[in-house]
């Protein structure tokens, strides 16, 4: 009886099978990589309604973070400042600058400035600034060198694994509480060592159980 398939069919089929298998594996790997917060969330740099530069204010002018984010060491939230706070200086400083005019408008009308949120935690997760800042975790650990950013950008994935990583071995990211807002701080010796001392002194033990963050 006649040949139904050409001679090579068998070989072709086998190779095809192998290729498909390979593609499935690599595809899965690639997907896993791409969907990881590392890729998904880091680098998020939304356009803000007002071209406010942290580099200028926090960096060059050296205004302390706490000047605006007043509640960072008192509450869960490092409140975004009221327009009033800007006006403390800007009713005198560059009052005619087009961006500043927006601010004064908001101040006059009472309409909030709709800042765009940059650092978004996963749902069901509760983060508390006070707990971290008072323990001696610097802003830089999660937000990066804000003082060098013209536009604020998310630099860390803020994924659960990333949080846990630090909660499991905090030493490297703990510094004297009074230095948390000194983003450029460079200790003269191994920071982890300093961290360990502080951890011992304050007996810091970050929670790694669910309710530490999820309620």
């Amino acid at each position: 009886m006649s040949q139904l398939f050409p001679r090579l069919t068998d070989k072709v089929l086998r190779i095809a099978l192998g290729v498909v298998g390979l593609m499935a594996v690599t595809g899965g790997g690639v997907a896993a990589y791409l969907l990881h917060p590392e890729q998904v969330d880091t680098g998020y740099t939304p356009k803000q309604p007002i071209a406010y530069s942290h580099k200028l204010h926090a960096g060059d002018l050296g205004i302390d973070c706490l000047y605006c984010h007043t509640s960072v060491d008192k509450a869960a939230f490092a409140a975004v400042p009221a327009t009033e706070t800007c006006m403390n200086c800007h009713d005198r400083v560059k009052p005619q600058h087009p961006e500043i005019i927006k601010i004064r408008e908001s101040y006059a009308t009472g309409n909030p400035i709709p800042w765009v949120k940059v650092h978004k935690l996963p749902d069901y997760a509760y983060f508390n600034h006070q707990a971290h800042v008072t323990a001696g975790v610097s802003c830089v650990s999660c937000h990066g060198r804000i003082d060098q950013m013209i536009e604020v950008k998310q630099v860390e994935p803020l994924s659960m694994a990333w949080c846990l990583n630090c909660h499991r071995n905090p030493a490297a990211s703990i510094r004297p509480a009074e230095l948390v807002t000194k983003l450029s701080w460079k200790p003269d010796r191994d920071p982890a060592e300093i961290g360990r001392e502080i951890i011992a002194a304050k007996n810091i033990h970050p929670p790694t159980n669910c309710s530490g963050c999820h309620r």
Partner: protein
Amino acid sequence: MSSVDPTLVQLSPNSEPRKYWRSLDELANTPKFRDWLHREFPESASELVDDKSRRTMLKLMAASFGLAGLTACRRPEQKILPQSKGIEDYIPGKPQFYATAYTQGGVASGLLVECHDGRPTKIEGNPRHGYSLGSASAFAQASLLNLYDPDRAKYPMKEGVRMKWDDFTVFAQPHFAGLGQGQDLRFLVEPSSSPSLAAVKQHALSKYPGAKWIEYEPLNRDEAIAGAQIAFGQPLEVHHQFEKAEVILSLDFDFLGLDSPTILPVKQFSNARRVESKEDHMSRLYVVEPSYTVTGGMADHRLRSRAADVRTVAAELLKQLGGLTVLNGATTPHGRWIAAAAKDLKAHAGKSLVVAGPRQPAAVHALVALINQQLGNLGQTVTYTKVADGWRPQLEQLKELAADLAAGRVKTLVILGGNPVYTAPTDLALADKFKQVPVSILLSEQDNETAAVVKWALPETHYLETWGDALAADGTPTVQQPMIEPLYEGKSKSELLALLTGYKDKRPYDIVRNQWFASLPGDKEKAWRKALHDGIVESAPKAAPVSATPNAQKVSEAFAALKPAGQGTEVNFFASAGAYDGRFSNNAWMQEAPEPMTKLTWDNAALLSPATAKQLGVESGDLLEIAVGGAKTPMPALIQPGHADNSISISLGYGRTRVGRVGNGVGHNAGAVRTSDAFWFGSGSVAKTGRKYPLSHTQEHFSMEGRPIVREATLEHFHHHPDFAKHAVHVPKLFSLYDEHTYEKGAQWGMVIDLNTCIGCNACVVACQSENNIPVVGKDQVARGREMHWIRLDRYYSNDPNDPQVVTHPMACQQCESAPCEVVCPVAATVHSPEGLNEMAYNRCVGTRYCANNCPYKVRRFNFLEYHKDITEVGKMAHNPDVSVRMRGVMEKCNYCVQRIQEARIAAKADGRRPIRDGEVKTACMQTCPADAIVFGNINDPESRISKLRKQDANYGVLEELNTRPRTTYLAKLRNPNPELA
């Protein structure tokens, strides 16, 4: 406090944000704002995390689990809206607590209200207030939901047409100017103890000397006051010292439950009942009542008796005590019982107490005054104080009004609060009469039945929205502070009255402040601020007790004049544990809170004893028709073991026709057969309709099946065998297959619940619901066994099925140290914390329900459906932002209010990294428990109250023999029966 709050913009994106704040109004109208509202998701989980954003995100997640990738392409942009002008000492996300006052039956309880970012989210008792002492009743707590009731009266309405306040004033001012002496003007008012309202009232009555001021409350204490009138010749308010009393006899008085406007009696009673060591003693309680109340549930000896027969018990008691004989012929079969009680009372003369309930006629109250005098209790456990001048029985006043209306003597009727059309006795037929009045004005929180028949229906502010004041029962002035600006266009009673009568002050704040400011001692501004902070004006004088002796002659006359108990079945009217008198009909929390004895939800029913049911040939769920006089109403039957025979009890507040989406058509209207001469009880008839009516219970089985769940003994037995509870079941040495957690280090949380003082009042259930954003599921879902309450109060009957004793068993997650649920969860969504909590990670839960199946206590609750989807935007304002709102398909349960633990821990760390102090963390249930039956704390700290309680002999764990090692343990239930009756 009344600040422009940005979060509300986010809370209510495209739904009517205009309704909340004038200033928001402006904001919401700017085109720029509207523009981005529609362009973006404005649900911003900004730093002011609100549940809505989370839920929206959940919906997105639900759309597809691959969404994580998609959102990456362009993740929903979220906004942060800081205030334009900062607010002093306001930190976003930090809750603030303010003192205010809740009034029920004209009596104030002090409250402390937790506000998140300008919206009240949780109501607690004010520890400084003598009648709250930190606790709040279920009603007081649930009143929060009335504030956010989407069906409230919102705008002035004229015959059903929406109007502006200006329209009203334009009409009202000339009209009231033209009333002259006010002969044909009537005020029908909810009784209130508010001095500032009284001042405006004085002004009004002086301006219109011809006008009449009628006060009416469907559940009033008039009979008690009238009783004093008989006994002492003057109307007096009676006060009881349940703490001082060693023997108490209650005549149809649910003083632990619905008959007390405040929770103070519970506090006093439980203090006298608490047994913490084998030396301790406890008071003894005798109860005589028709229906089973929580008070009856606590009784050591309970005598079920028709309300009309209570008087004979009282008379017999007086006789036994050697007082005069007022029994006119009538005899009681309970001679032995009464004799024993009398002996017992006598033995504790001066330290005993006999009380009668508001449902009993004045003569019985008068007789009780006589009894207490006989026992030397006057001035000891019973005191009397003056009531406001010009007191007259409300029913009398109301009848008079009805007569005036009928005679057309009323041209202008102003109704301040209340819902007379629904609550007044049917024979007065107020609805039709109101329609005849040329000018009728109603001020009410609810858009209710009365609003349907008046010309002008005006919105009243909720008490959390406006300034006011009220007196505690002992006369302590209690300041009512607003937590939030009026959500709608409401005005307060005094505000409207001031408007109508041209009072000197117009704004509620001025009316209240000027009422007190002058009388304040020392630095007035400072004193005023302190009053606001404490919630009370301490400097004000308390009501002085009146010392008077009852006039036996008058009493026996009055007693002889009592109209005899009628024939036929006795019909009793009670306040309902859910809707009270109807003011909570549209309150989903109260509708779903199970009635303490029957565990009935979303309904009222005709309670009757098994014997009576047999005799009538009815069973639970049969629809009856109840007739009193000419009036009739349908009512489903529900067999209540321990109910008096030949008598039924029906509760008020149901069968509403116009109250809102929650309450409309729920239950049947008992008020339809409540007439002015059968106001509390009267003889009627019961007929079967042959139809059935479904009732939803949260509990279906009331027998303990001989299992050692609630372990109970008499006080005497306890004195000899203090550790009896430990020996109720043999617990061998048990081991776990898995390596076990170690609990040596750090705080280890635990809870002890004292079954001996728990009265089963639902306060903890509502507190938990409010604190933890627990959804309400509705009648149908309850019927399917899907109620979501994290803490449930199991009710068990024991002994004689016709006349049983009851125990209450509060049951929430026991936080087992070796928890069966944890092992079986395939995704590790419920795991153990190093502090001994059994935790739920809601976002990890896939919903296999295996954990619930494997929980021997069945305390896990599953979101079978999306129970939050019907919550309105304004309803969402009641949510606690510190707790997630769970979506469907997620398991949830009690977690010892872990959010409060975290808060306390962070505070303690910030405060020099000290350990958390004992009592610093209070779970919501513990915080509010009126009986202080729940104690939570660190069992690793030997000094903590809880570790002391756990060391007690009476302490035991339920189902310990399963090696679950529950962290929640119980103190055994004790009773103190009279040996003569044992």
